[in-house]
């Protein structure tokens, strides 16, 4: 009996094989790019120490393997990476993987909540705006969307902090939990949730505008299509038209954007996490750049590449689920 692999697994396997060279290329590219930047870990360390003699600096470089040619360093790094060894962070004095795992949860939580909020609210508002195209409510929704889209994220974050933390005192200014409170159970959950309100709002408000505008355009377009007219001729009411004929088809381009935007959101989280001092990957990336912590930075990029590949795979699955014309092959 021939071994039958479920098509979804075969598809996942093929996607995995396709993703491998992509990730390798990303890693090589970023490694070389980072090497092009002036200064290395030793410079940053010595700078922190307030200076050291040339022999010490030389010894440090040899110890860290930084005296080797770039190609050798790259080769060594890639070989280690092949066994998922991210190396040692000289700044945190911990294995990079430990540092990353500490932070990954926070970032994923932030990204997942803000993206799903942006997506759901954006899609809903977009659909409402389209059904009442060119009316007052459409104008208000569209204008607000544009305003949030045009506002730089740091400005939006700072304004929120000013209003909700400084003036009103409703929400904590930053961090992921109240330091020194040592909450546990539901109290801990509530505490983290409170800390995440503003960063999530700041991130999702910016991305909401994309979904809103795309959804509005898609709904307007689909509503004019022949099969919507057919459904009308069958005697279907507006609610039915919207739920069964328009939304499902209008969602397709929006879902494509969802996959594409995940990577942008990772970038956006750098700013937001830094401002709200959230211990996440974004903030870590920022600090690693400042401190020339190459290993940590490479680890973050690797992780991000993996996340983007996985998310794109998931969106493709979702897309195939939504669009019956697409077969996973």
């Amino acid at each position: 009996m021939p071994l039958t692999v479920p098509p979804i697994l075969a598809y996942a396997l093929r996607r995995l094989i396709q993703a491998a060279p992509v990730v390798v290329l990303i890693m090589i590219g970023t490694f070389l790019l980072l090497k092009l930047a002036p200064g290395d870990t030793v410079d940053a360390l010595v700078g922190d120490m307030g200076g050291a003699d040339a022999a010490f600096i030389e010894r440090l470089r040899i110890e860290y393997g930084l005296d080797q040619p770039v190609w050798v360093q790259l080769w060594r790094y890639m070989v280690k990476l092949a066994s998922f060894d991210f190396g040692w962070s000289f700044v945190y004095e911990q294995p990079v993987s430990t540092v990353l795992m500490d932070r990954l949860g926070n970032t994923l939580l932030l990204m997942a909540t803000s993206l799903s909020l942006a997506f759901t609210i954006g899609v809903l508002l977009g659909a409402i705006a389209a059904r009442r195209a060119y009316s007052l409510s459409d104008n208000i929704i569209s204008t607000l969307g544009l305003v949030f889209y045009a506002t730089p994220s740091f400005f939006l974050s700072l304004m929120m902090m000013l209003i909700f933390s400084v003036k009103l005192g409703w929400l904590p200014v930053g961090g992921i939990k109240t330091i020194g409170a040592f909450y546990d159970g539901w109290k801990h959950v509530w505490d983290v949730a409170l800390h995440l309100v503003m960063p999530t709002a700041a991130l999702s408000l910016i991305y909401l505008a994309f979904y809103l505008r795309l959804m509005r355009a898609a709904v307007l377009e689909v509503a004019e299509l022949d099969y919507v007219r057919t459904a009308r001729a069958k005697g279907a009411g507006e609610t039915r038209l919207m739920a069964h004929h328009i939304m499902r088809n209008a969602l397709l381009p929006v879902v494509t954007l969802l996959g594409l935007q995940f990577s942008t959101v990772l970038g956006g989280s750098v700013v937001v996490e830094t401002i709200f001092t959230l211990p996440g990957l974004g903030q870590l990336a920022y600090q690693s750049v400042i401190q020339r912590d190459l290993n940590t930075l490479m680890g973050i990029i690797f992780l991000c590449a993996i996340i983007v590949v996985v998310v794109n795979f998931l969106t493709d699955l979702l897309y195939a689920r939504l669009d019956s014309r697409i077969e996973l092959k």
């Binding site: 093929r14 022949d226 099969y227 007219r229 057919t230 069958k234 005697g235 669009d323 077969e327």
Partner: protein, 549 residues
């Protein structure tokens, strides 16, 4: 029908539909009156822009209001005033007592829902019955429209079944609840000729069984001859003539109807012109084209499609060779291979004694001026940002003609294709479809080619315009001693213009010969089937406005 006329299902009285301000005319429909009796098929005929589709919209109360709205008159369905109904009442009527069949079976079904779901939707909306009962009814409907394996079609998505079957699904959906009135808006226009005949027969058959009235909207007099009991002719929103089909088709009174009917190409081909002594200008030898299987190790595979296998033909000077066939027969691929817009896998195309397919890129550019194309869609094949004179002069300029002389020549060509010289400085969008196709012809002629390859050049045009363009092509062929390779799906058009035809099916020539012979005595069963499917083949238009070419 001489018995006491039954109470009409639909009465339209003096209907006026207003267009938004700034349109080309204030009323899309002005004073339309007609009645549809039970069991009667009334054809509403007119050219594009005549307002025939808006009539359907008005009856269904699905006009794009408020821009387009009913401004006067009355529509009565089974004696009830449609215009006075509330939206909720209309919803109860739509799909149940009045139903509609649309033109494009491709786009008229929701791509994301199964066929079964979409039929079930009508039943769910109007029938008080349980899930199982509804499914049984849907399957019975699919069976009645002769869909093979109804149970499997029920679970299929629209893209998984053919165009003809999709239209059958539309019909099943429209007839599911035995409506009293069926409005069919060009239901067969997008279908192949053999499928078209089947669908027309099906509509007739079901409508007879149910005794429903049908308002059938079409632009095609062949279809009218095939199906109509009564005919209403519309011109620019005004009714010019109405009467029993036999009367209107064979003894048209209004000049407009006479002109329209006169423009319908005759099915009798012109007598065969002996051209065997004329030199061969273009010949194809053993041409083959397979669209390769796509994909490979890491991506999905698609099966290879043989579009053209082993095609050989000869085109003599001054001759028109028609390539006819249904969609998927490979006829368009032929036109692309011959002009080398698509690379053939093997074979040779000899033009002026030189193998076009063996030419280098440089030689090919020089050869291109001997063979030019006229495309189907006159809207899409002209660059909208260029003036007409530049569109026409572009070719000669590329081939090294002095720009000023080329523009001068372009203006002469406009006169040749019967456009006013003032047309030269305008943009393509300022012209009608027929005029645009003339520009397309002038552009092809600018390089003084030996051969013109025309891919469905009149398919997008109204019948009267189509007749003019065909006459122009025939005329130019005589005057310039051109050879035409004419690709078409329309056998009437082929009969009109072609000296010889090639009938293609699934990439193969099934029959070839002088048009008159093939039409009189088709040898291959497929050709016979094609000819037997031409709508209104038994009806010969009584008036003629064009002389046989």
């Amino acid at each position: 029908m001489t018995a006491p006329a039954p109470k009409p299902v639909l009465e339209i009285e003096n209907l006026r539909v207003a267009l938004p301000k700034g349109s080309d005319r204030p009323f899309a429909l002005d004073g339309l009156s007609l009645t549809v009796a039970p069991g009667e098929i009334v054809c509403l005929v007119g050219e594009s822009g005549s307002g025939k589709s808006l009539t359907a919209g008005a009856v269904m109360r699905l006009l794009p209001e408020p821009h387009v709205h009913v401004a006067g008159g009355a529509i009565r369905f089974e004696g009830e005033d449609i215009l006075a109904k509330t939206e909720a009442e209309m919803r109860a009527i739509r799909g149940d007592r009045i139903s509609m069949i649309f033109q494009e079976p491709m786009t008229a079904l929701n791509p994301q829902k199964t066929v079964g779901w979409q039929i079930d939707e009508v039943l769910k909306l109007h029938m008080k019955a349980g899930r199982r009962e509804r499914k049984a009814h849907a399957l019975e409907m699919l069976n009645r429209v002769h869909i093979p394996e109804p149970a499997s079609a029920y679970n299929a998505y629209p893209h998984q079944i053919s165009g003809g079957q999709r239209q059958r699904v539309m019909i099943a959906m429209a007839l599911a609840l035995s409506p009293k009135l069926i409005i069919a808006d060009e239901p067969t226009t997008a279908l192949d000729v053999t499928t078209q005949l089947q669908i027309l027969k099906l509509i007739r058959e079901l409508q007879r069984d149910e005794g429903a009235g049908v308002l059938f909207i079409t632009h095609d007099f062949g279809v009218v001859a095939e199906i109509a009991d009564k005919v209403v002719v519309l011109k620019q929103g005004e009714m010019v003539e109405q009467g029993p089909a036999d009367e209107v088709l064979n003894r048209p009174r209004a000049p407009y109807t006479r002109a329209l009917i006169g423009a319908v190409p005759d099915l009798t081909p012109p007598p065969h012109r002996p051209l065997s002594d004329a030199p061969v200008v273009l010949s194809g030898k053993a041409l083959k084209k397979t669209f390769a299987a796509r994909g490979g190790l890491l991506t999905g595979k698609r099966a290879a499609v043989t579009a053209v296998k082993d095609l050989t033909f000869e085109l003599r000077r001054g001759e028109t060779l028609g390539v006819v066939g249904e969609s998927g027969s490979g006829k368009t691929t032929v036109s692309r291979i011959v002009t080398r817009l698509v690379e053939a896998d093997s074979g040779a195309v000899e033009l002026e004694g030189k193998d076009l397919l063996a030419c280098s890129a440089r030689e090919l550019r020089a050869m291109r001026k001997h063979i030019q194309m006229v495309f189907q869609d006159p809207m899409a094949s002209l660059n909208p940002r260029k003036r007409v004179v530049d569109l026409i002069a572009q070719g000669p300029i590329v081939h090294g003609m002095d720009p000023r002389a080329a523009r001068e020549r372009a203006r002469e060509l406009l006169a040749l294709v019967e456009l006013s010289p003032a047309a030269a400085d305008r943009f393509p969008h300022e012209f009608s479809g027929g005029q645009r196709q003339r520009i397309g012809i002038a552009r092809a002629l600018a390089l003084e080619p030996r051969v013109i390859v025309a891919d469905e050049p009149v398919s997008a045009l109204d019948v009267s315009v189509q007749a003019q363009v065909l006459r122009l092509l025939a005329d130019l062929r005589e005057r310039l001693n051109l050879s035409l390779l004419f690709v078409t799906h329309d056998l009437r058009v082929a009969a009109q213009l072609c000296d010889r035809i090639i009938v293609m099916q699934k990439g193969e020539i099934v029959e070839a010969g002088p048009t008159a012979e093939v039409f009189a005595e088709p040898k291959h069963p497929y050709t016979r089937n094609l000819l037997a499917s031409i709508p209104g083949r038994d009806w010969t238009p009584p008036v003629k406005s064009i002389e046989a070419a």
